[in-house]
Every structure is written in C-alpha cells, then in structure tokens.
C-alpha cells in the first residue's frame, strides 16, 4: 500500500472542514446551530480546526426549549467562552409568551415542534442565510437523502423533490432573496465515526454521555429522566437507574440507555454491540413512521 492514503476519519474530517470553509466563504451571515449534543460539539470542534489560528468566524445559535438538561447549558457556556465565539440564544419560552407558539398539553407534551417556530424566528431576526447543523444521514431515513447544502424556501421548508444535485466537491450556495440554506458538514459520519473521532481528538463532552445514576421513569419502554417537566402517568414510578445518553435532546423526550460505560472506550465497545439506532430512544420520532420527514418539511433541522 502506498503512503499516500488517509484513514476514513481523516477523510471525513477533511470533507467536513472543506464544507465548513465553503459556508464561511459563500454566505454573508452563516451560523452554527448548537444543540448541545455530541454532533454539534463535534461540528464546533471541526469549525475551530478549519479556521485556526483565527477564531470561528460565525456565531453559535442555541434554541433553548427551556427543557434542556442543566448539564447542556453549563457545557455550552464553558465552550463558548473557551473558543471566544459569539452565542445567540433563541428562547422557546419567549415564543410561547409572545403567543408565537402554543404549548402542547397532556402527559406526552413536548416542545420539540415548538423549536421550529423559535428557530425560524431567530434565523430571521439575525438575517441568517446559512445555518449549519450536525445532522447525519445515517440517523434517520428522511435524512439519507439530505444534501450537504440543503436549500430552504422563504418559509424555511424542505422539499425533498426539489433539491439541487450535488456533484464532486462543488457546492452551490447561490440563492434568491429570502431563501436560505441548512448545511450539514458531517452528513457522511455515522454514530461510530463520531465516537471514534471524539476519542482520537480527545474532545470534551457533557457528563450526560457517560454512565451515571439518575432518577428515571420508564414510559412505553423508553427511559426518561424524572424532572419537573414530566408528569407521571398512573402506574408509573420513579426508579434510580444506571444510565447514559446516546443523544441529547429535551429532557422530557430523550431516552436514556442502561449502561455502565463510563469512558470512551467502553462507549465505543457498547455501540459496536448495540442493536438499536440512537434515535430509537426518541419519543419524537415514534409518533409516526414519517415523523422526521414531516418535521423536516416544516423547517426542522
């Protein structure tokens, strides 16, 4: 074998950095959508590498549902300070208070779909023309067809049948007035790639991802953290469990897995042997078989 080969993680890194640099070059007001999850932490890390020794030349936007894990917020604030990058927070609570969004009711109420309103409002307020996110194509069926540069009409909607073809390394970010793009630099990464790379690069993560003790409620087979945001249904009881998270969404809807994996090696080993997808634990995808596709069309990440 010749020496002029890079391994798959380096190739994925190179591709992502290329895309991030294209965003910075092709758009006037790009932002990075920071969810606090490992994928957006990875994306932020890649953005830092892309422009070093300069700082990341665009702000981070976080849509705060008010239902976040406290660990997520703490981690976010530390990271932003360390990188010296600007943070914009869009608040779902504010959207509800202003009457822009209406809270769901009932025991399974979630603020997930309300995020869309806040997100679109925040993007408009800051005249964002490209919002990059850490979504990956392997996460979900509807995402398998997503482009790197995903075109959105002036209502933020995604039309799967009307996406621009993407060829070679050539990304077309030209747009008409009012339109914007979602860009996904880590499209081609799998969950395993993300963890392997986090280990390779020694990237800091919130403690939620590692095994810990927590009071939980098991609802429809999904392990949810007990919190002020969750109303117990009849027959449900709170148990102390040893768990960790594979994704980090909102507290009331993100499912945990029972796990003893308290370091990266153990997590990687666990993933190599797990038999469910990471979104399998998310109540928001279970509502309908096409839940993700429907939300994307409305303007979700």
């Amino acid at each position: 074998m010749s020496n002029y080969v890079i391994n798959h993680l380096k190739e994925l890194e190179s591709e992502a950095i290329f895309v991030i640099r294209e965003i910075a070059a092709q758009f006037e007001n790009p932002v990075l959508l920071f969810s606090g999850g490992k994928d957006s932490i990875l994306l932020t890390h890649l953005a830092k590498k892309a422009f070093y020794p300069a700082k990341i030349p665009f702000p981070l936007i976080h849509i705060d549902t008010g239902h976040n894990f406290p660990e997520t917020i703490e981690f976010r604030d530390n990271l932003v300070e360390k990188l010296g990058v600007k943070l914009i927070v869009g608040s779902v609570q504010e959207a509800i208070d202003k009457g822009r969004a209406k809270e769901e009711t009932g025991a399974d109420a979630s603020r997930n779909s309300l995020q869309i309103v806040s997100l679109l409002d925040t993007l408009e307020e800051y005249k964002v023309d490209a919002a990059m996110g850490g979504a990956r194509r392997d996460e979900e069926k509807a995402r398998a067809k997503e482009r790197f540069f995903s075109h959105r009409d002036e209502f933020g909607q995604w039309d799967p049948k009307n996406q621009r073809p993407e060829l070679w390394n050539l990304f077309n970010g030209r747009k008409n007035y009012g339109e914007h793009f979602r860009v996904f630099p880590i499209s081609n990464w799998t969950e395993m790639d993300v963890w392997e790379y986090i280990k390779l690069e020694n990237i800091d993560l919130p403690s939620l991802y590692f095994s810990h003790q927590r009071d939980c409620v098991v609802r429809d087979g999904v392990i949810l953290a007990n919190s002020e945001f969750i109303k117990l249904k009849e027959g449900e009881k709170v148990e102390n469990m040893t768990i960790r998270y594979r994704t980090c969404g909102d507290m009331p809807i993100t499912g945990a897995v029972e796990s003893e994996a308290d370091n990266l090696d153990k997590i990687i080993e666990e993933i190599a042997t797990t038999r469910t997808t990471e979104r399998g634990g998310r109540a928001d995808d279970k509502r309908a078989e096409t839940a993700m596709e429907d939300r994307k069309k409305q303007g979700y990440f």
């Binding site: 640099r21 070059a25 020794p53 390394n169 050539l170 990687i268």
Partner: protein, 418 residues
Amino acid sequence: MNYQDIELLRFTTAGSVDDGKSTLIGRLLYDSKSIFQDQLDAVEQSSKSKGFDYVDLSLLTDGLKSEREQGITIDVAYRYFATPKRKFIIADTPGHIQYTRNMVTGASTANLAIILIDARKGMLEQTHRHAFIASLLRIPHAIVCVNKMDLVNYSEEVYDGIVANFKAFSSKLGINDIQFIPISALNGDNVVNRSENMDWYQGSTLMYHLETVHISSDHNLIDCRFPIQSVIRPHTLENQDYRGFAGRIDGGVFKPGDKVKSLPSGFVSTIKTIELNGEQISEAFAPMSVTMTLEDEIDNSRGDMIVRENNVPEIGQDLEVLVTWMSTKPIQARTKVVVKHTTNESIGMVKELKYKIDINTLHRIENIDKVEMNDIARMSIRTAKPMFYDAYKKNRQTGSLIIIDEQTNETIGAGMII
C-alpha cells in the same frame, strides 16, 4: 486491525428498476450486521403487513414517504456500513431513464460502481447506459453483479453469456478495472458469504472485492493543485502577520520547502508551513484539507490556485465540456450562465452546442439546437475570466464544473472538461 485505521470506499449502484439494487444494499447491510434491531423490526412488520412470506430487505433503504407510496426510489440516497476492513458509503441511485442526472450525481464522488444485471433479462439498453455513465464519470473500478441467479438455476452458461456480452460492449468504454460476480441478492449467494449453489464460480464474493480493491491510487498524486477556499487572517497580537491559505488538495503532493506558483498572479514563492489546527503536516495530498503559509507575502484570495512552478494546469476562458443536463428547462446556444469550478466562479456563456451522445449506442447526434434534461452533450463554454483547469481524465476535481442558472440559481448542468 484498529478500527481507526481503515479506509473509506465510496460506491454507487446502478441497475434498472427491479434488478435488485435495494435488495442487494439491504443484504450488504444485513449480512455485515449494520442493521439495528429496531430497523429490522420495522421492516419485518411492513413485510408482514404487505403479506410477503419473506423479509423484504429492500424496505430498509426505500426511504421517503412519497417514494414508498409510489414504490420507487426517486433520488440519490446515501447509506453507510463498515466492516473491520473498511468503511463504505453507498450512493443508492435509481435506474429509470429520466434519472440519468441522479446516476451522474452519485457517480461523481464514487471510487467504484456496482452494475446490476438481472440474470433472466441479460444486458438491456439501460445496462449500456449504466456502464457508459460509469466510464464517463471515470469511476476507477466497476463490479458487474449478475443478480437473481437463483431464478436461472444458478446456470454457469447464462452467466458466461452475460459476461461475454458485457465485455463486448465495455471494451469500447475504457473502464480499467471490471470484475464480474454471479449473485443472488435475495438469498445472499456470493454477496457476503460464498454460494454453495455455484461451485463453478472460482472468484471471490462481492464483499471481499469491496474490502480489498486497491483505491489508494485513485487520486492524482502527480500534478500539484491547491485551490484556495479562503484566506485565514487572525488579527490577533500574537498572529499579526499570519496569512494562511485554506483549502483542500486536489492533486499532487505538497511539502514545506517546495517552490510553488500562484495563479493567476504567476508569483513564485516557497511553502513555509502546511498545517491544520496548528499541527504541522510534512506531506499533503488529496483529499486533505489544510492551511498553507508561504515564505513571501503574496496577495492570494479565494478562487486562486497554488501549483508547482513547472507543472501548471491549463489556463483559459474557452472550455470544451461534456455536460449532463440536469434541468427540466432545456438550454440553447448563446445562453448566459454561471460556472462553478473548484473554488472559482465566473459568469459564462454557452457558446455552441456541438453534439449529443446517444447513451445507448454511443453514437453522436450532430446538428442539435437544444440540450434537454438527462442529455449528455458536448458544448463550448466561454467564461468571463480565466479558469485554471485540467482535463477530467487527468483530475476529477480540477476537471469538473457545474453550470448554474443565472436567474433561478439552480444547478442545471454537470460538466467534465475534455
């Protein structure tokens, strides 16, 4: 073998409708244990509710609602799986006549093409098209899978006949590396596991080929090409004079100390450092993203290209291009367009439409007055400023371009420079 040290192989699948593409991909995912239990449960559930008496693996990949309703694949979808030897990215593209554009899209980034043929039907007109597109896009490796061998009693004769037909056609195309494998995607014969039904076949399984095909020389390592994406200027006290050129290497091998030339200025300098995130890199080659600094202060900007002094690309405003038309709106000569090439962009004019290629017979159709969706045509394009390019056959990155509609900003054409 360490998981972190495996290579990435990108491949595309081509076949006519119902040749078994989705089933084959489902089979690769399933047999390599890349399917999660919840995905499998969902597929078993749907298979049962449709009244099938087997698990329909094609349901694993047939993604979007609209396409499930129509029962066809409407667009390029990307799938991922890994074995201890390699990581794979599949561009799953449909085989309909109206979807040449999707196949071209999937093929543009592929190292390898799997071409599927239904053993009962043999070579079809569509097979010609698939093989032609693979060769046109210069996919370095091809594997022809003769599928549904179970439906022809695993007959060696049938297989040999199809292989002979394919070779007769493909000799005109110039694909360097073609392998042939008889398979049953449905039953798994010769996909991941060797078939017990075809002891006459001595070759290896599809998975073995995918895991071992030699891809390290797929990139151009000779002609140094570094298109600049942006200039990094930190504006901090400790890095006041820092000026780094950010980009991805498209060809050749660059080292600190190399004499280089900047285009279009023609200024010559020496590479001071090649780095990423402050880490020094001793040799940089495609497809690495790096930041390069030069010994001299040269005012490069996005769209410029750093090359070796004695090995420069073509520089010019008149391009001869083979274009796949991607838009429902046809194009005529003397249309103004935008051309995007490497990190460079220019206004341009389609000056002349020379001929179309009949992709089934490979014949030229001359005297054309328009080019329509899914046509492959040769045209001359004049750009408003000079471009730095190579022939596509020499470098797939510096030899490719996209054509953009000036008004709608849609990507309307995919071009390979002759």
